[in-house]
């Protein structure tokens, strides 16, 4: 009798290989919890409450005159900017001769629920900038902000323009109403007052839910299939586990900060209309007159280009550059693409403006 079920024997072999990989995976790869995400050595130059200002040890003698302070995002932790030696944003900038500092926001707890934009911008960031200016004997620094850190850096530059020589905004959240991502849609329908009053800080679990609906099939299924298929590839496995560990470690966001974030940036778009108040002062993007470099990724599914790009057009700077890269939110900062394209361009841009 002829067998009517025709299955390619290679498919069967692939199925068995996949199963074998799953069984052998625990013997072949490290336990994610034991992976150390710290890469480039640093000193804690300054600390206040739970925040730390990290000063990375430079491998080069040559230093550009103006130090660079990176304001990391409020979601996940700073490790993504230094995730692997060959994909490290920080290491690349150090090798280009920059003196690099980065703000680590730490882990806010219930006691921090009343911390707001004012505390972060006019308190923590301003104190870090003063510290760096003092230590490097300069009156101005270059500042880069990534994602929500880009928003904080933008607000800081608008309120303290005299302390910023150059501003780099990498995928900043600026005009939430124009954001076309799922994050924007959820934020617009959120009763944030009720949320903050009832639960205080924004819990990490809520962020994980938001992440899970961003690319549910690519990120929730395909990614893991590929992991088990590539279990023999040490580089793939190392990179996968490091990014996975980073993705699954996000601190809570202080309640008041989250409230103002959702209302002023996503629901009412006050920042882009120059109507947002921080610490009793009006934030006008027209006050940003220093050179500004806005970096946007066309495939960004967390902060859409429509949300970031308005910054370029709203600032008062005459020297302004906008770059749109054919990559994603994380690809722009931690990938071979960013090492080959984004960072060399940023390095050149900063170089021309750091030694004047």
């Amino acid at each position: 009798m002829e067998n009517e079920l025709k299955i390619d024997p290679k498919l069967v072999a692939e199925f068995f290989k996949f199963n074998k990989n799953m069984i052998e995976a625990p013997k072949m790869v490290p336990v994610p919890d034991e992976i150390n995400l710290e890469m480039t050595p640093y000193d804690v130059a300054y600390s206040e409450d739970k925040i730390r200002l990290l000063h990375f040890n430079s491998p080069t003698q040559k230093q550009h005159q103006t130090p660079l302070v990176i304001v990391y995002a409020l979601v996940n932790r700073y490790h993504i900017l230094d995730i692997q030696p060959h994909k490290s944003w920080v290491r690349n900038l150090l090798n280009q001769g920059y003196d690099v500092y980065m703000v680590d926001w730490g882990t806010p707890s219930n006691i921090d629920k009343y911390l707001g934009f004012d505390d972060y911008v006019n308190g923590y960031i301003d104190n870090c900038v003063d510290f760096v200016c003092n230590e490097a004997s300069v009156s101005k620094i270059s500042m880069q902000g990534y994602c929500t850190g880009g928003t904080l850096a933008t607000v800081y530059a608008a309120l303290h323009p005299n302390k910023i020589k150059n501003l780099v905004a990498t995928a900043p959240v600026i005009d939430g109403k124009r954001d076309t991502t799922v994050v924007g849609n959820l934020a617009k329908h959120m009763d944030v007052d009720n949320m903050v009053e009832t639960i205080g800080n924004m819990p990490p679990e809520f962020m994980y839910y938001v992440f899970s609906v961003l690319k549910p099939f690519e990120q929730g299924i395909e990614k893991y299939i590929n992991f088990f298929r590539n279990i023999d590839d040490k580089n793939y496995v190392d990179s996968f586990l490091r990014v996975e560990k980073w993705l699954n470690d996000t601190p809570p966001i202080p309640g008041e900060l989250f409230r103002q974030w959702i209302k002023d940036i996503y629901q009412d778009s006050l920042l882009i209309q120059n109507k947002m108040y921080v610490g009793g002062k009006l934030v006008s993007l027209k006050n940003i007159t220093m050179p500004i470099f806005t970096q946007v990724a066309v495939g960004d599914h967390l902060v859409s280009p429509e949300c970031s790009m308005p910054l370029h057009y709203a600032v008062g700077s005459e020297d302004k550059t906008l770059r749109i890269y054919p990559t994603g939110h994380v690809g722009m900062i931690a990938s071979s693409f960013s090492q080959k394209n984004v960072l060399p361009e940023l390095g050149e841009w900063l170089k021309e403006r750091s030694n004047k």
Partner: protein
Amino acid sequence: MAAQSDYKKSLEYYKHLSLFWTDIVYLMSSKPSALTSAGPMRKFAMQAKKLATEMIEANEDLTEFNTRLAEYYKQLSDTWIEAQKRVNKKIPEIPQDMEHLEASKRVWIDMFENDFTQLFDSEKFGENFGKLISSELELSKHWNKMLSVLLETANIPTKNDIDEIYKELHSLRKRMSKLEKNGHQTKVKNNGK
């Protein structure tokens, strides 16, 4: 609609019945229990009505939560069915061999990803999700209030008491930071003279 109205009517009836008896029992027992005013039972008896009210109201919010949760899963399930239909149409066109395994997987992932992203981006999903979270928060509030009643009877600080301390601490930290900054600036100024 009629079923919902009947449900509300019966809920109102049981709410009234329950609160009536809670009050009557309290009025009947408050005088003798006043003898033990130093212990927790007196306080508990005085607050018992609050617990009953919270539980009844929590029940109403639980109904809203269930409605929103059912709608949430309905949206997911409808989207899944539609995406699966589209995949079923497409897959027979692709040969089922090793060379085309990746292509089949790609079709499945892309179609599902596309349909679900459209759902998560939609107004109807955002609105229902927002209301689902709000109803969860309402349940949390009832839970918090009930816990506060119990904590108060035992003279233990409630969430509101702790929030007040956090607020005070935040204000103190802010003032201290400003003072430190001003002190530092004055020092720099004086050193410069």
